[in-house]
Amino acid sequence: MKEVSIVNLNKDFESRVRLGIMSILMVNEWVTFNEIKQMLDLSDGNLASHTMALENKRYIEVRKAFVGKKPETSYRVTKDGKKAFEKHIEALASLIEQKE
């Protein structure tokens, strides 16, 4: 039995919120802060702390623009983020397979 998989799990994606953010950004380009907030049903502060963490790891990049007078923040997954998240999904899948 292989015991490698658990090492491949990425600690940065351990929280549900981060899984959600990454999942949304994997299939959509440039999603606004408010849209992610709505989709995941989160408070501003909660989402901000997680996006900040992912941003610091360079898994996602941020774009700030003005829509009329309102500032609008959008996010997009980076190449590194995409790779890391794909690896994480693979690790999850192989862990499930091992159990079966």
Partner: protein, 203 residues
């Protein structure tokens, strides 16, 4: 251990929830395809009423009256197809209960609109120069390019619909004189097939 499975399920759900509902409903495809077929039939009817046999191989120099009636048919076909597609897609978005409709939908619409508007204007210019036989191939080609372009923002399946429209467009440009048939296959039959596949796959 269940946690891993839950995580994967959560990932899949979020991916689907955040992307699929912004795509066109399969029923939109079927509806638009039927409109196109009715449009084709109406075109044949208008031509035959004026004693024109579409397949007689004669250069088609249509009179002003014929052109005016064909434009009415084209406009009605276009409007009904848009209304029908909008209706089913709006219904689908509403059922998903989400208002994220904007960012992704906006991207998809922009990607579609640029080639489509250019193509539309180009087809009007072609008509202006009386090169009617190139209208159908041009519509198919510009539409195919628009779909390939927009497929970045929605299901990958749209990419293949685009490729098929492009191939049909090129064939139609080669076999001049059968434009209406190719147009009917591209906008009618392909849309219906695509719509059924989408409906079965995602709804």
């Amino acid at each position: 251990m269940n946690k891993y499975e839950n995580d994967l399920t959560h990932i899949r759900q979020m991916m689907e929830k955040s992307s699929t509902f912004i795509s066109l409903s399969g029923l939109s495809g079927v509806g638009a395809g039927l409109c196109a077929l009715v449009g084709c039939a109406a075109t044949f009817w208008v031509l035959s009423r004026h004693g024109i046999d579409y397949f007689d191989g004669m250069p088609n120099y249509y009179s002003y009256a014929v052109l005016r009636q064909l434009s009415v048919v084209a406009t009605l076909t276009f409007i009904s197809a848009v209304v029908v597609s909008y209706f089913f897609t709006a219904k689908k978005a509403k059922a998903a209960g989400l208002s994220m409709w904007h960012t992704s939908a906006k991207n998809t619409m922009t990607a579609l609109a640029i080639p489509l508007v250019v193509g539309g204007i180009f087809c009007i210019i072609i008509t202006y120069h009386h090169l009617f036989y190139l209208v159908a191939p041009c519509m198919l080609i510009f539409y195919g390019l628009a779909l390939v372009n927009a497929s970045k923002y929605t299901h990958r399946d749209l990419f293949w619909l685009g490729i098929f429209e492009l191939l049909l467009g090129l064939l139609a440009a080669f076999f001049v004189g059968y434009g209406l048939i190719f147009w009917g296959i591209g906008f009618g039959i392909l849309h219906i097939i695509y719509g059924i596949i989408m409906y079965k796959k995602y709804q």
